[in-house]
Protein backbone atom coordinates (compact mmCIF):
# COMPACT_ATOMS: atom_id res chain seq x y z
CA UNK A 1 0.00 0.00 0.00
CA UNK A 2 2.78 2.39 1.03
CA UNK A 3 4.69 1.64 -2.17
CA UNK A 4 1.65 2.33 -4.31
CA UNK A 5 1.00 5.65 -2.54
CA UNK A 6 4.61 6.73 -3.02
CA UNK A 7 4.62 5.95 -6.70
CA UNK A 8 1.28 7.73 -7.11
CA UNK A 9 2.61 10.88 -5.43
CA UNK A 10 5.77 10.76 -7.52
CA UNK A 11 3.78 10.29 -10.71
CA UNK A 12 1.53 13.22 -9.81
CA UNK A 13 4.53 15.45 -9.10
CA UNK A 14 6.18 14.53 -12.39
CA UNK A 15 2.95 15.10 -14.25
CA UNK A 16 2.41 18.52 -12.67
CA UNK A 17 6.00 19.59 -13.40
CA UNK A 18 5.66 18.46 -16.96
CA UNK A 19 2.34 20.25 -17.30
CA UNK A 20 3.80 23.48 -15.97
CA UNK A 21 6.59 23.28 -18.49
CA UNK A 22 4.23 22.46 -21.32
CA UNK A 23 1.75 25.21 -20.53
CA UNK A 24 4.56 27.80 -20.28
CA UNK A 25 3.98 28.70 -16.64
CA UNK A 26 7.71 28.74 -16.02
CA UNK A 27 8.95 32.15 -17.15
CA UNK A 28 11.63 32.05 -19.83
CA UNK A 29 13.86 34.94 -20.85
CA UNK A 30 12.66 36.65 -23.98
CA UNK A 31 15.66 37.11 -26.19
CA UNK A 32 15.07 39.93 -28.59
CA UNK A 33 16.45 39.56 -32.07
CA UNK A 34 19.58 41.55 -32.82
CA UNK A 35 19.85 43.89 -35.76
CA UNK A 36 19.30 41.87 -38.91
CA UNK A 37 22.03 41.28 -41.47
CA UNK A 38 24.96 41.04 -39.07
CA UNK A 39 26.61 38.11 -37.35
CA UNK A 40 27.84 38.10 -33.78
CA UNK A 41 31.59 38.07 -33.00
CA UNK A 42 31.21 34.46 -31.80
CA UNK A 43 28.47 31.85 -31.87
CA UNK A 44 25.51 32.26 -29.53
CA UNK A 45 26.26 29.32 -27.22
CA UNK A 46 29.82 30.56 -26.61
CA UNK A 47 28.66 34.13 -26.07
CA UNK A 48 25.98 33.06 -23.59
CA UNK A 49 28.52 31.26 -21.45
CA UNK A 50 31.56 33.48 -21.87
CA UNK A 51 30.36 37.04 -22.56
CA UNK A 52 31.16 38.21 -19.04
CA UNK A 53 34.75 37.01 -19.28
CA UNK A 54 35.18 38.42 -22.77
CA UNK A 55 33.84 41.80 -21.67
CA UNK A 56 36.04 41.83 -18.58
CA UNK A 57 39.21 41.19 -20.55
CA UNK A 58 38.19 43.64 -23.21
CA UNK A 59 37.52 46.39 -20.68
CA UNK A 60 41.04 46.05 -19.24
CA UNK A 61 42.60 46.07 -22.71
CA UNK A 62 40.56 49.12 -23.62
CA UNK A 63 40.96 51.19 -20.47
CA UNK A 64 44.60 50.36 -19.74
CA UNK A 65 45.93 49.45 -23.16
CA UNK A 66 43.93 51.81 -25.33
CA UNK A 67 42.59 49.07 -27.61
CA UNK A 68 39.52 50.67 -29.14
CA UNK A 69 37.38 50.66 -32.25
CA UNK A 70 38.07 47.94 -34.81
CA UNK A 71 40.77 46.38 -32.60
CA UNK A 72 38.36 45.80 -29.73
CA UNK A 73 36.61 42.61 -30.76
CA UNK A 74 34.45 42.20 -27.65
CA UNK A 75 33.52 45.82 -27.17
CA UNK A 76 30.41 46.46 -25.06
CA UNK A 77 29.65 49.42 -27.30
CA UNK A 78 29.48 47.14 -30.32
CA UNK A 79 27.21 44.68 -28.46
CA UNK A 80 24.80 47.54 -27.84
CA UNK A 81 24.97 48.68 -31.47
CA UNK A 82 23.36 45.42 -32.64
CA UNK A 83 21.38 44.23 -29.64
CA UNK A 84 19.52 47.39 -28.64
CA UNK A 85 15.77 46.91 -28.77
CA UNK A 86 13.91 48.31 -31.74
CA UNK A 87 11.23 49.60 -29.37
CA UNK A 88 13.15 51.13 -26.49
CA UNK A 89 16.45 51.73 -28.34
CA UNK A 90 18.20 50.19 -25.35
CA UNK A 91 19.62 46.90 -24.10
CA UNK A 92 18.57 47.54 -20.51
CA UNK A 93 15.60 49.87 -20.32
CA UNK A 94 12.67 47.43 -20.40
CA UNK A 95 12.38 43.96 -18.83
CA UNK A 96 12.40 42.36 -22.25
CA UNK A 97 15.52 44.14 -23.52
CA UNK A 98 18.50 42.03 -24.49
CA UNK A 99 20.73 42.24 -21.40
CA UNK A 100 18.01 42.58 -18.77
CA UNK A 101 15.78 39.74 -19.99
CA UNK A 102 18.35 37.05 -19.16
CA UNK A 103 19.85 38.76 -16.13
CA UNK A 104 16.51 39.24 -14.40
CA UNK A 105 15.69 35.58 -15.17
CA UNK A 106 18.99 34.48 -13.63
CA UNK A 107 18.70 37.05 -10.80
CA UNK A 108 22.03 38.61 -11.71
CA UNK A 109 22.26 42.31 -11.06
CA UNK A 110 24.63 44.02 -13.44
CA UNK A 111 25.90 47.56 -12.90
CA UNK A 112 27.37 48.07 -16.39
CA UNK A 113 24.68 50.56 -17.31
CA UNK A 114 25.17 52.79 -14.29
CA UNK A 115 28.12 54.23 -16.22
CA UNK A 116 27.82 52.91 -19.77
CA UNK A 117 24.95 54.10 -21.90
CA UNK A 118 22.58 51.33 -22.91
CA UNK A 119 21.77 52.95 -26.21
CA UNK A 120 23.52 52.64 -29.55
CA UNK A 121 25.62 55.54 -30.78
CA UNK A 122 23.05 56.90 -33.23
CA UNK A 123 20.32 57.05 -30.58
CA UNK A 124 22.26 58.04 -27.46
CA UNK A 125 21.27 61.51 -26.36
CA UNK A 126 23.75 64.29 -26.50
CA UNK A 127 25.63 62.82 -29.45
CA UNK A 128 26.11 65.71 -31.76
CA UNK A 129 28.03 63.97 -34.53
Amino acid sequence: MWRVLCSLVLALCAASAFAADESGRTPKPVIERALAGKTCVADAAFMRREHMNLLKHQRDDTVHGGIRGANAKYSLKECIECHASQKTASVAKAETNFCVSCHSYAAVKIDCFECHTSKPRALAQGVTK
Binding site: R59, D61, V63, H64, G65, G66, I67, R68, G69, N71, K77, I80, E114, C115, H116, T117, K119, P120, R121, A124, Q125, G126, V127, T128
Partner: protein, 242 residues
Protein backbone atom coordinates in the same frame (compact mmCIF):
# COMPACT_ATOMS: atom_id res chain seq x y z
CA UNK B 1 82.67 34.33 12.07
CA UNK B 2 81.60 36.85 14.70
CA UNK B 3 77.97 37.19 15.52
CA UNK B 4 77.78 40.69 14.02
CA UNK B 5 79.46 39.50 10.81
CA UNK B 6 77.04 36.63 10.47
CA UNK B 7 74.05 38.95 10.89
CA UNK B 8 75.46 41.27 8.23
CA UNK B 9 75.83 38.44 5.71
CA UNK B 10 72.35 37.13 6.52
CA UNK B 11 70.82 40.60 6.04
CA UNK B 12 72.57 40.98 2.68
CA UNK B 13 71.33 37.55 1.56
CA UNK B 14 67.73 38.39 2.52
CA UNK B 15 68.00 41.76 0.76
CA UNK B 16 69.14 40.02 -2.45
CA UNK B 17 66.33 37.48 -2.28
CA UNK B 18 63.78 40.28 -1.87
CA UNK B 19 65.19 42.29 -4.77
CA UNK B 20 65.13 39.52 -7.31
CA UNK B 21 61.38 38.80 -7.16
CA UNK B 22 60.75 42.55 -7.23
CA UNK B 23 62.64 42.90 -10.49
CA UNK B 24 60.78 39.97 -11.96
CA UNK B 25 57.44 41.52 -11.01
CA UNK B 26 58.33 44.75 -12.77
CA UNK B 27 59.35 42.81 -15.88
CA UNK B 28 56.05 40.93 -15.88
CA UNK B 29 54.12 44.17 -15.47
CA UNK B 30 55.98 45.73 -18.40
CA UNK B 31 55.43 42.69 -20.59
CA UNK B 32 51.71 42.73 -19.76
CA UNK B 33 51.34 46.29 -21.03
CA UNK B 34 49.98 46.00 -24.56
CA UNK B 35 52.35 47.48 -27.07
CA UNK B 36 52.55 47.65 -30.83
CA UNK B 37 50.75 49.53 -33.55
CA UNK B 38 47.38 49.48 -31.80
CA UNK B 39 46.61 50.94 -28.41
CA UNK B 40 48.75 53.04 -26.15
CA UNK B 41 52.22 53.40 -27.63
CA UNK B 42 55.06 53.67 -25.06
CA UNK B 43 57.18 55.64 -27.56
CA UNK B 44 54.65 58.48 -27.40
CA UNK B 45 54.24 61.13 -24.70
CA UNK B 46 51.02 63.01 -25.27
CA UNK B 47 51.05 66.56 -24.04
CA UNK B 48 49.66 70.01 -24.50
CA UNK B 49 51.11 73.45 -24.88
CA UNK B 50 48.95 76.32 -23.69
CA UNK B 51 49.95 79.72 -25.02
CA UNK B 52 48.49 82.10 -22.45
CA UNK B 53 49.39 85.10 -24.62
CA UNK B 54 46.72 83.88 -27.07
CA UNK B 55 44.19 82.75 -24.46
CA UNK B 56 41.44 85.37 -24.25
CA UNK B 57 40.19 86.40 -20.84
CA UNK B 58 36.58 85.34 -20.34
CA UNK B 59 36.61 82.90 -23.28
CA UNK B 60 35.38 79.47 -22.25
CA UNK B 61 35.27 77.72 -25.63
CA UNK B 62 37.59 74.94 -24.43
CA UNK B 63 35.46 74.30 -21.33
CA UNK B 64 32.26 74.16 -23.38
CA UNK B 65 33.85 71.84 -25.93
CA UNK B 66 35.07 69.52 -23.17
CA UNK B 67 31.63 69.40 -21.56
CA UNK B 68 30.00 68.62 -24.90
CA UNK B 69 32.56 66.02 -25.97
CA UNK B 70 32.47 64.10 -22.71
CA UNK B 71 28.80 64.53 -21.84
CA UNK B 72 29.47 66.62 -18.73
CA UNK B 73 26.87 68.93 -17.24
CA UNK B 74 26.35 71.74 -19.78
CA UNK B 75 25.30 74.08 -16.96
CA UNK B 76 27.66 73.06 -14.16
CA UNK B 77 26.62 73.46 -10.54
CA UNK B 78 29.27 73.90 -7.81
CA UNK B 79 29.23 70.12 -7.26
CA UNK B 80 29.32 69.10 -10.92
CA UNK B 81 32.34 67.28 -12.28
CA UNK B 82 34.79 69.64 -13.93
CA UNK B 83 37.52 68.38 -16.21
CA UNK B 84 38.85 71.71 -17.41
CA UNK B 85 38.47 75.19 -15.94
CA UNK B 86 39.56 78.67 -16.84
CA UNK B 87 41.67 80.63 -14.38
CA UNK B 88 42.48 84.33 -14.39
CA UNK B 89 45.78 85.28 -12.77
CA UNK B 90 47.29 88.62 -11.95
CA UNK B 91 50.79 89.63 -10.97
CA UNK B 92 50.00 91.92 -8.07
CA UNK B 93 53.10 94.11 -8.24
CA UNK B 94 52.92 94.81 -11.96
CA UNK B 95 49.22 94.33 -12.63
CA UNK B 96 49.92 91.99 -15.58
CA UNK B 97 47.00 89.65 -16.15
CA UNK B 98 46.79 86.31 -17.90
CA UNK B 99 44.12 83.72 -18.54
CA UNK B 100 44.64 79.99 -18.95
CA UNK B 101 42.80 76.71 -18.89
CA UNK B 102 43.85 74.20 -16.23
CA UNK B 103 43.09 70.50 -16.46
CA UNK B 104 44.80 67.22 -15.55
CA UNK B 105 48.46 67.90 -16.27
CA UNK B 106 49.18 64.25 -17.10
CA UNK B 107 52.26 64.08 -14.90
CA UNK B 108 55.09 61.66 -15.57
CA UNK B 109 55.19 61.12 -11.79
CA UNK B 110 51.50 61.41 -10.92
CA UNK B 111 50.75 61.73 -7.17
CA UNK B 112 47.18 60.54 -7.81
CA UNK B 113 48.59 57.19 -8.93
CA UNK B 114 50.88 57.00 -5.88
CA UNK B 115 48.03 57.39 -3.41
CA UNK B 116 45.36 55.28 -5.12
CA UNK B 117 44.63 52.26 -2.87
CA UNK B 118 43.08 50.13 -5.62
CA UNK B 119 45.23 50.89 -8.65
CA UNK B 120 42.28 52.58 -10.34
CA UNK B 121 44.29 55.74 -10.91
CA UNK B 122 46.97 54.81 -13.41
CA UNK B 123 49.26 56.14 -16.11
CA UNK B 124 49.01 54.65 -19.58
CA UNK B 125 52.05 53.71 -21.62
CA UNK B 126 51.69 56.90 -23.66
CA UNK B 127 51.66 59.15 -20.59
CA UNK B 128 47.91 59.71 -20.24
CA UNK B 129 46.78 59.58 -16.61
CA UNK B 130 43.35 57.99 -16.24
CA UNK B 131 40.90 56.54 -13.73
CA UNK B 132 39.74 52.97 -14.27
CA UNK B 133 36.17 53.31 -13.06
CA UNK B 134 35.87 49.54 -12.75
CA UNK B 135 38.37 49.68 -9.88
CA UNK B 136 37.61 53.13 -8.43
CA UNK B 137 35.98 52.97 -4.99
CA UNK B 138 35.42 56.71 -4.76
CA UNK B 139 37.75 57.31 -1.79
CA UNK B 140 38.94 60.60 -3.30
CA UNK B 141 42.54 60.27 -2.10
CA UNK B 142 43.60 61.31 -5.62
CA UNK B 143 41.46 64.44 -5.38
CA UNK B 144 43.42 65.36 -2.25
CA UNK B 145 46.79 64.42 -3.73
CA UNK B 146 46.49 66.35 -6.99
CA UNK B 147 48.14 69.77 -6.67
CA UNK B 148 46.25 71.01 -9.75
CA UNK B 149 42.72 70.29 -8.45
CA UNK B 150 42.18 68.33 -11.62
CA UNK B 151 40.04 65.50 -10.29
CA UNK B 152 36.30 65.59 -9.66
CA UNK B 153 33.92 63.26 -7.89
CA UNK B 154 30.55 62.30 -9.33
CA UNK B 155 28.03 62.72 -6.53
CA UNK B 156 24.78 61.86 -8.25
CA UNK B 157 23.44 59.22 -10.57
CA UNK B 158 23.91 60.04 -14.22
CA UNK B 159 22.00 59.12 -17.32
CA UNK B 160 22.43 59.67 -21.04
CA UNK B 161 26.18 59.25 -21.00
CA UNK B 162 28.13 59.34 -24.25
CA UNK B 163 28.82 55.87 -25.68
CA UNK B 164 32.54 56.72 -25.79
CA UNK B 165 32.70 58.25 -22.33
CA UNK B 166 31.14 56.07 -19.63
CA UNK B 167 30.69 58.00 -16.36
CA UNK B 168 28.86 57.24 -13.17
CA UNK B 169 28.08 58.00 -9.57
CA UNK B 170 30.67 57.19 -6.94
CA UNK B 171 33.75 57.47 -9.15
CA UNK B 172 36.45 60.06 -9.48
CA UNK B 173 37.19 61.41 -12.93
CA UNK B 174 39.27 63.96 -14.75
CA UNK B 175 40.59 65.04 -18.14
CA UNK B 176 41.36 61.99 -20.27
CA UNK B 177 43.16 63.94 -23.02
CA UNK B 178 40.20 62.76 -25.13
CA UNK B 179 41.62 59.26 -25.04
CA UNK B 180 38.68 57.87 -27.01
CA UNK B 181 39.58 60.18 -29.89
CA UNK B 182 43.32 59.64 -29.74
CA UNK B 183 43.02 55.84 -29.72
CA UNK B 184 40.95 55.99 -32.88
CA UNK B 185 43.52 58.04 -34.74
CA UNK B 186 42.14 61.51 -34.13
CA UNK B 187 45.06 63.89 -33.72
CA UNK B 188 43.52 66.48 -31.47
CA UNK B 189 41.46 66.92 -28.32
CA UNK B 190 38.05 68.60 -28.13
CA UNK B 191 39.46 71.64 -26.29
CA UNK B 192 42.37 72.16 -28.72
CA UNK B 193 40.03 71.74 -31.68
CA UNK B 194 37.53 74.27 -30.30
CA UNK B 195 40.31 76.74 -29.52
CA UNK B 196 41.69 76.49 -33.07
CA UNK B 197 38.22 76.75 -34.61
CA UNK B 198 37.52 79.91 -32.61
CA UNK B 199 40.71 81.34 -34.08
CA UNK B 200 42.70 81.56 -30.85
CA UNK B 201 45.06 78.66 -31.39
CA UNK B 202 46.10 78.85 -27.74
CA UNK B 203 46.10 75.06 -27.21
CA UNK B 204 48.44 72.75 -29.11
CA UNK B 205 48.05 69.02 -28.57
CA UNK B 206 50.60 66.48 -29.72
CA UNK B 207 53.39 64.01 -29.08
CA UNK B 208 56.19 65.60 -27.05
CA UNK B 209 58.51 62.73 -27.98
CA UNK B 210 58.18 63.23 -31.74
CA UNK B 211 60.71 65.92 -32.77
CA UNK B 212 58.72 66.58 -35.96
CA UNK B 213 55.44 67.35 -34.17
CA UNK B 214 54.23 70.93 -33.84
CA UNK B 215 54.17 70.78 -30.05
CA UNK B 216 57.76 69.51 -29.86
CA UNK B 217 58.89 72.25 -32.25
CA UNK B 218 57.07 74.95 -30.30
CA UNK B 219 58.38 73.90 -26.88
CA UNK B 220 61.86 73.79 -28.40
CA UNK B 221 61.54 77.34 -29.72
CA UNK B 222 59.65 79.24 -27.02
CA UNK B 223 59.98 79.49 -23.27
CA UNK B 224 57.47 77.30 -21.49
CA UNK B 225 56.85 76.37 -17.89
CA UNK B 226 55.22 73.50 -16.08
CA UNK B 227 52.84 74.42 -13.29
CA UNK B 228 54.37 73.82 -9.87
CA UNK B 229 57.58 72.59 -11.47
CA UNK B 230 59.07 72.58 -7.95
CA UNK B 231 57.08 69.44 -7.18
CA UNK B 232 59.06 67.59 -9.88
CA UNK B 233 55.99 65.80 -11.22
CA UNK B 234 57.01 66.51 -14.83
CA UNK B 235 53.56 67.40 -16.21
CA UNK B 236 52.82 66.81 -19.89
CA UNK B 237 50.97 70.13 -20.09
CA UNK B 238 53.20 73.18 -20.53
CA UNK B 239 52.33 76.87 -20.35
CA UNK B 240 53.81 79.78 -22.29
CA UNK B 241 53.63 83.34 -21.03
CA UNK B 242 52.87 82.75 -17.37
Amino acid sequence: MSRRGFLGVAAAAIGGAMLAPGIQLIEIARAATPTGATGANPQVRWGMLIDTTKCASGCTDCVTACNTENGLDPKPSPTSAQWIRKIEIKEIKTGRQASAPVMCQHCAEPPCVDVCPTGASFKRADGIVLVDRHACIGCRYCVMACPYKARSFVHEELSEQKPDVPRGKGCVEGCTLCVHRIDQGNKTTACAEACSKAGHGAIVFGDLNDPQSEIARRVREIQTTQLRADLKLDPGVRYHGL
